[in-house]
């Protein structure tokens, strides 16, 4: 599988608005790559940097954000160094993105048809007639009943699930190579969520596009993704094939997260509890950022562990987990 997007060592900080212009770190050396046709899951809790990473790829970082180092290689080009005109040929065309709440991305003042045609006319240079035909096709493709009617409707007239379908139609309108879906089903009911996830999987199969699925819901990730990146406090802490990750997580945080996730299959009297809370960027310090909450933490964890390869496609940022696996190998050898 050839690499489509290669985020290398991305470090982003927020600059405060006051005179001091203090920099608060947000992403710290994040490297994520995704192959053509692959579905990659990005998981972590609020504030871990999963959304920020994707915004950086789209060139949508907030004004106060500063990219301090790193590369965003998309099909060989560094997105960080593209001119605006060139970037616009990538963003919205070769990379599409959908968000959690379609209401914030759709304009309440224009009809669905108008908003769908905008991209087609601007990016693909279609005539009004062509764009309308294509827009109706797209609405059909994302499973909207009565495309002709919906074409003339406004976002507020649609349900949450239908709005998300419209967003997906817009995002795939220029046949992107990569679709980034940021919590696409978090605001939806489970039965609607199942419909939307099915639609995404189907579109991906048909168009052979790559999909980055960002979610806090480990169930959604397990269902959809072939590979998973787990983030914690601005860093990638584990990366693995989905099957291996869910069957045998190695980083203590991933393990704790999975243990704390309620499952429908078995009843637990008590939930596994991760003590404490995610540290704020000002409390990151120099060592492992999970050490304050980790049952395996030792003095060694005062030093930041590297993201080291365990085997094949498996990487973990933990002295303990890396050591365990190596020990296991020695015993076996």
């Amino acid at each position: 599988m050839s690499v489509l997007l290669d985020v290398r060592d991305l470090t982003v900080a927020f600059q405060s608005k006051d005179k001091a212009k203090t920099l608060v770190p947000a992403l710290d050396g994040v490297s994520i790559s995704i192959g053509r046709g692959e579905t990659l899951g990005l998981v972590g809790e609020s504030g871990c940097g999963k959304t920020l990473s994707s915004l950086a790829v789209m060139g949508l970082l907030p004004e106060s954000a500063r990219v301090q180092s790193g590369q965003l290689l998309f099909d060989g080009d560094d997105l960080l160094h593209l001119k605006d005109a060139e970037r616009n040929k990538v963003r919205g065309v070769r990379i599409g993105m959908i968000f959690q709440d379609p209401m914030t991305s759709l304009s309440p003042y224009y009809t669905i048809g108008n908003q769908l045609m905008e991209g087609l006319r601007y990016h693909m240079g279609m005539s009004k007639k062509q764009a309308k035909e294509r827009a109706l096709d797209l609405l059909q493709k994302v499973g909207i009943p009565g495309p002709e009617r919906v074409f003339h409707e406004y976002p507020e007239q649609l349900s949450g699930g239908m709005r998300q379908r419209v967003m997906i139609a817009i995002a795939i309108s220029c046949e992107p190579d990569l679709l980034i879906a940021d919590e696409p089903t978090t605001a939806l009911d489970v039965t609607t969520q199942a419909q939307i996830l099915d639609l995404l999987a189907e579109l991906q199969r048909e168009n052979g596009m790559s999909l980055i699925l960002i979610s806090h819901d480990l169930g959604v990730i397990a269902e959809m993704c072939s590979r998973v990146v787990v983030m914690y406090a601005g860093q990638v802490i584990e990366q693995s094939e989905a099957k291996a990750l869910f069957a045998d997580p190695t980083h203590p945080y991933t393990r704790a997260l999975l243990a704390a996730t309620p499952r429908m299959t078995e009843k637990q009297e008590r939930f596994y509890q991760i003590p404490g809370a995610v540290p704020a960027p000002t409390e990151w310090g120099t060592g492992c950022r999970f050490r304050g909450r980790c049952e395996h933490a030792t003095a060694e964890c005062g030093e930041m562990p590297p993201l080291s390869r365990l085997d094949g496609a498996r990487f973990v940022r933990c002295w303990y987990a890396a050591g365990q696996t190596l020990q296991g190998r020695e015993v076996r050898a």
Binding site: E45, S46, S159, G160, G161, M162, D189, V190, T191, T192, Q193, A194, Q195, L197, D198, H216, D217, L218, G219, V220, I221, A222, E223, A242, K243, F246, A247, A256, L257, L258, A260, T261, P262, R263, M264, T265, K267, Q268, E269, R270, F271, Y272, Q273, I274, A277, V278
Partner: protein, 326 residues
């Protein structure tokens, strides 16, 4: 079994939809709901947006005036309570919302917010209240220093703990918990759920637990009622309902919940279409428009919520156990 602490019979909540002076129709948010909540029990109301679960929670506390039906709290009719009796009732039944932000006064230190509740209800002397406050904070896993903080200084999980502490300050018997962990991250969610469990044991509380998250409900509920368009379509013990769901809607709902494991194959029932508007609910069984096994019978007649096996597992479907079953 002993007398239920809360007994709801044929509850209806209808909202007129008006445009100017004209009434366009009626939203039947809750349309004939009956359930019992027993002492020390957790009953979960589950269902998708718009099924009427939150409206039910509010009607039970009389935060909304019910259109019809009966709500009995320890044998006393809530709908006929005088203002002063209702004031007392609110001590005995408390509500915890999804986001504590929505009810905490942003300009008041959270300690004051908790003290206020006790003061309004004339509980304890001033000194006792101060002691009680620190005891409450400790109960929900926070220390005294939090009393002086403002709501915006707390994380979502901490605010939820404050919501719980305030509810507890009045020694309630029943807590209506409306999506109490939906806004929280997994690791915080598990902390708050464990707290709910501890408090239930410690104080013998009864919970009416309103949630859309079936994975959470699996663990906290003793009994479950599944709602669809203002009606209960299936109810039973949590074990029975999750292991042996009977109603096609319950089956679809359970199968749609993604599980955190990579399974070789998974049978999923994907429902087509969307929940119809509660303003014009479908005829007969309200679920027939999306049901994979619906027939003419379902379009015409409303199935009764009945026991299929003689125990308290009730299902409202023509095709389960009853007359139409194949």
């Amino acid at each position: 079994m002993s007398q239920p602490i809360l007994r709801v019979r044929d509850l209806k909540m209808h909202f007129p939809v008006k445009k100017g002076l004209r009434t366009l129709g009626t939203v039947r948010a809750v349309d004939g709901l009956s359930f019992d909540l027993h002492q020390g029990e957790t009953l979960a109301l589950v269902g998708e947006s718009g099924c009427g679960k939150s409206t039910t929670g509010r009607a039970v506390l009389r935060l909304l005036e019910a259109t019809d039906g009966s709500i009995q709290f320890m044998g006393e009719e809530v709908r006929q309570m005088s203002r002063s009796r209702l004031f007392q009732l609110r001590r005995e039944m408390q509500i915890v919302f999804q986001d504590a932000y929505s009810f905490l006064n942003p300009r008041l230190p959270i300690g004051e917010s908790i003290l206020e509740a006790m003061e309004v209800h004339g509980l304890h002397t001033k000194e006792q209240r101060a002691d009680k406050l620190s005891e409450l904070l400790q109960t929900v896993g926070l220390n005294d220093s939090y009393a002086a903080r403002f709501p915006h200084e707390l994380s979502g999980g901490q605010r939820q703990r404050i919501g719980i502490a305030r509810a507890l300050s009045l020694h309630p018997k029943v807590i209506v918990a409306d999506e109490p962990v939906s806004a929280l991250d997994v690791s915080v969610q598990s902390q708050v759920l464990n707290l709910f469990q501890d408090l239930k044991e410690q104080f013998g509380l009864s919970y009416l637990f309103i949630s859309h998250d079936l994975s959470v409900v699996r663990h906290v509920a003793d009994r479950v009622a599944v709602m669809y368009l203002g009606k209960i379509v299936e109810t039973g013990t949590a074990d029975e309902l999750f292991e042996n769901p009977q109603h096609p809607y319950t089956q679809a709902l359970l199968s749609a919940v993604p599980q955190p494991e990579v399974a070789a194959t998974r049978e999923r029932v994907i429902l087509q279409g969307e929940v119809p508007s509660p303003m014009n609910p479908p005829s007969g069984c309200a679920f027939h428009t999306r049901c994979p096994i619906a027939t003419e019978l379902c379009r015409q007649s409303v199935p009764a919520l009945e026991s299929t096996t003689g125990d308290d597992h009730l299902v409202a479907c023509h095709f389960v156990g009853g007359e139409g079953s194949a």
